[in-house]
């Protein structure tokens, strides 16, 4: 179980910021622990719901959302490189890269980069989701070059 944070910047035992958990987003983090990328999807209009929510943002059907699997494949649409340390990250963590990824199925998602040097990154680069255990029970989605 992921510890339940009180604040959105609460940090776990191993030093990583924890997601704020609720019944709405817990299935996402339970899935990452199983190395799966899932998001809610509206059965009426087929939209993917991201950021994760309890209601479809695009139609009025009001049907319960269904957690569905994604391929984890996508392309980089933007990225930043952290050079300065903001706690709880450590000096040894920088520079590190955070990506914005257009997933093949549509959602645009933020994720950490793995095995991607800042110099190698460009818009449109194909990446795929991978998973990294970051804290007690917390598994992060990270993106790495596709095909590795």
């Amino acid at each position: 179980m992921i510890p339940t944070p009180v604040n959105w910047l609460d940090v776990g035992r191993l030093g990583r910021p924890l997601p704020r958990l609720s019944a709405t987003n817990r299935p996402f983090w339970e899935a990452t622990a199983r190395r799966k990328l899932v998001l809610p999807r509206c059965p009426a209009c087929d939209r993917w719901i991201y950021p994760i929510s309890s209601i479809c943002w695009g139609c009025d059907a009001g049907e319960p959302l269904i957690w569905s699997s994604l391929s984890g494949k996508g392309t980089i649409s933007s990225w930043v490189v952290y050079h300065r340390v903001f706690r709880p990250f450590l000096p040894s963590d920088v520079p590190y890269v955070v990506l914005e990824v257009d997933l093949r199925e549509g959602p645009r998602m933020i994720g950490a980069a793995d095995r991607l040097h800042p110099e190698e990154i460009s818009a449109g680069l194909a990446v795929q989701a991978s998973f990294r255990d970051a804290d007690d029970g917390l598994t992060l989605v990270v993106f790495e070059p596709e095909g590795e």
Binding site: Y50, I52, W79, R84, F86
Partner: protein, 390 residues
Amino acid sequence: MIAVRNRTAIAGIGRTVTDRDPDVDPMAHLAQALTSACADAGLSRREIDGVIVNLAPEEGSMDKLPEMLGLPSVRWSFQSWFHGRLEPTCLATGVWAVLAGQADYVACISTSQTLADFKHGYETRGREKSREGGGPHLENPPSGLISVGGGAALAWRKYLTKYGGDPDALGAVAVTQREWAHRQPEAYFCGRPISQADYLASPYVVEPLRLLDHCVPGNAAFCLIVTTAERARDAPKPPVYVSGLQGSSSGREHFIFSRTGLGVGQQTDEPYVAPDMPVYAAAGISRDEVQVFGALDAFSPVVLFTLEEFGFCAEGEALDWVQDGRTAPGGVLPLNTCGGGLSDVESFGWGHTVDLVRQLRGEAGDAQVPGVKVAQYATPDRSSIILTAD
């Protein structure tokens, strides 16, 4: 729509000198700004019967401030969520209170307060929440997108990718605003001009944003007293009319650190043509009549996004447009003449607006733009206020 044009006015302004002393209580700045504004308006404290607080050390400052100052007549008080995009909305709320007869003189007030709350764009209190599943500026802490500037950096990278352009040219924003700050004694960077070479030597914080692309945390407070135009005409200083107001847009398309249609976060990625912004019709002016412009500038690219959002230049053109001194002293659109968040202090629009009032009164000293009659403040999420003078 109820017309607001020129029915209310700013009768008094006050601000404090920016400091970076962590031992200073922000409430001391607030109290000083309010008393300065009263003096400027020729009012005694007992005539202040409305108070609206935007940023302040804590919730409840709407009670603490009148208590500190012994304001005996407050019959309308309110405190907004602590967010900088709400500066025009706070002033608008003061306007509504006056027009509705709830108060005669509303002190609209805010601190910068960022020294205690932010360090290089990292929000230390974690008080603001809930955009994109994280913070209000696209923060995603588990992934490492953990500073306020992260979302602005993603937006700037997206802009560079989409439209091309030399990232170093962004230095024109930082350097030009320092030029303005150099003319403003209350600005933190007064006396500290920088060159493009200084900009390029500035280290990356969240690449592609450099340290000099970040606003200045510091202590300062700002107050504007809103009253009816009629009462303002009896004040010692010339009235500055509230001519147009526009609220803060919200939803998947709107992000305070990006332009609409740029494709950041959940925005669509599509061609953008600035719509006819209602604020101009409300004020009875066209965009071309704006003589001094204030833009949210928590991070340098946000200035470019604001210029494009409001149509001062077309999609993808703002980076070129701000070159060659267009926004500098003597330029066609003097921009953030107080130095702005980048060079005065991060005031979330409050310092910008106090400065626009000074420009309209002819009180801006070395930064004065000649003959200013129309001035505007705006943010990329479309909140705006237009102020005019007789």
